[in-house]
Symmetry: D2
Subunit: 206 residues, 4 copies
């Protein structure tokens, strides 16, 4: 297998990329000069040296030492340390943060738990989450945990798991557990609304 | 203009139908026998004789006399007469009713109010709604009005108008005014959530 | 079943219309005044009185007597009577005619022949076509028959059937049988071209 | 700007990739182990060392020395050296070759000429093409040149330029110039066919 094919194979494993587009990526790179290729190659090579996982919220950020540093959100003294939002992945964090309406801290699960999964605790950062909350209780006066999982079968399953996992520590420490509100979202049409959404919209009316 | 073109012109005014599909409708009808054409022609002709507007909720239903009868939902003694849901149109009513989770009564506005509309009261059944509520207060012990308008600029504008319109009568009679809950709906992804939805989801967390 | 549902059922048999849109059609009609309904009802009712099938090309046109009249294209003395294009349906005729580049006459098959069909002659106007060509030979000096069927399995199957059907009469009368050219069409990209199209494009290069 | 953003910026320049997907690519890479990153980084870095441009058809292939070697198609003695197909880009070549119906040789233009371009000869490998054809005339008994440009404004403009460029040498050496056939392609429907395609289909009927 030649280098065009080998590289195309790698690209075809990227999220959302099929065999045809992966080939076009390779020809695109071939059309660029060596500097372009060196730059992107260097960035990929040193990605894991430049980017570390935050030891507190577990998101990727530009850090120095693995597991030893907090990201800029976690060290920001302006953030409300009494609220913790639990999200599935880095891009969820990025989008919520970009909208700028949430002022508390975060925890990135790094995955979801499929329905009927036998070892759910291996699919997400369960142990790390418990440790984080224990620390938050002691040091940050944690008052509320917000579940921000997606409204899908996997997301709901993950939420159920988190609820069972965190209920004891929450009750013991009088921490409120909440979930992002449910109901009509931008673009929902009453004419096409599904059972689950109309149920939630009725139950959670404002 | 010949009959093919004339009929196609009518069909092209149907919701969602362009000039090409309207032509295909005509050729479809031409391919059917005269009985088929007579049946559909008769149904259209007597549509307004067979279908009346309910004098209570203003939805279309199989009735006898214009403005003199209540539909089967409005006369159903099993329904909770103390709750009134206000929806924009008949298809919204149909879809909510099909899902079977709402047990109260309805009112169909028959439209929405565009933003900056100068005569908003002409765009929806405003007077009819006020009369209905006055009646509900006297006869049905109305306790709650639910706004079920869509989450769009027009829908929100309609809701604002309704709120101003109904607040006095609601306060005077201790009727609660609510709106369908807002937040994540089936299919919302945190990664792509918009500002308005994340705001609502945070505010209305459960 | 009430009139709303009955009429929606009819509309749901229209090409490309599902149960939801058919309901919206009915509510659209209910929102119109009685005149609108009467007009459309009348047009449908008398559609088959106003529109006849041309006795020569078998397309629908505004005519008086069933099977006794020719349409305006067939009677147009400016058209080239020596060329006959065979198309599947009225909308194909309309689109080709709209583009204005073809100057000959037409025959509408009124259908296509599915692959493996046992009675192919019943699926299209086969007998009528043979009669038409016999007449064209005698009266119009027919020199060429153009197959303008679609490039699909059914279309190709129809073309094969027509070829077998018309070959004897064509050979006997020295009529050329041709098919619309095949190859790249507007929008075809070489990067995504399929086997059949590249084969045709190579074979029929210009 | 941190490494996540820098790398995402590079990915967003890939064909068809927007800012959101480019971010997802970076997080995908972060989720992989260092070996995966090293492999893909190495493949990109040495892409231009492993892959050379064929000195004869100018396509990218696994070669040793820049501009000094022919690819496996150009050296294949089974190919018909008397026919030369001129395509726009490597992926066009790949797709035609994959379909396996063309047995001649190729030349990759490496681009197209925009309409009204002032220096058309700089947009494609014009000089290289002329040299190639001169060589083909002397050594390979070239008999036909096939233009396989796309059926778009740019593609047609490129074909016109090529025609003017190659006509003298073709006429002098009695080389036929042809273009891929035009007409119905797989999926074309007569009902929706555009003017250009129906024109071509009529003109090039078979």
């Amino acid at each position: 297998m030649n280098t065009i094919q080998k590289l195309a194979d790698f690209f075809s494993r990227f999220p959302g990329i099929g065999p045809r587009q992966s080939k076009r990526f390779v020809y695109f790179l071939l059309s660029k000069d060596k500097n372009f290729l060196k730059e992107i190659s260097d960035l990929i090579l040193k990605l894991k040296d430049d980017i570390k996982m935050c030891c507190f919220c577990y998101r990727y950020f530009p850090g120095q030492k693995e597991g030893a540093e907090k990201c800029e959100v976690c060290v920001n003294t302006q953030r409300d340390k009494s609220v913790l939002m639990i999200v599935e992945k880095d891009t969820d964090f990025e989008n919520i943060e970009k909208n700028g309406v949430y002022k508390g801290l975060y925890f990135i699960l790094g995955g979801v738990i499929p329905v009927l999964e036998k070892k759910p605790e291996n699919k997400i950062r369960a142990k790390e989450l418990v440790k984080r909350i224990e620390k938050d209780v002691k040091e940050n006066g944690l008052k509320e945990i917000i579940f921000a999982t997606s409204l899908s079968a996997e997301g709901e399953n993950t939420r159920d798991f988190l609820n069972d996992l965190l209920k004891p520590i929450a009750e013991k420490n009088k921490i409120k557990i909440s979930t992002l509100g449910r109901g009509l979202s931008t673009g929902t049409e009453l004419e096409y609304i599904d059972l689950e959404t109309i149920k939630n919209a009725l139950k959670n009316r404002i």
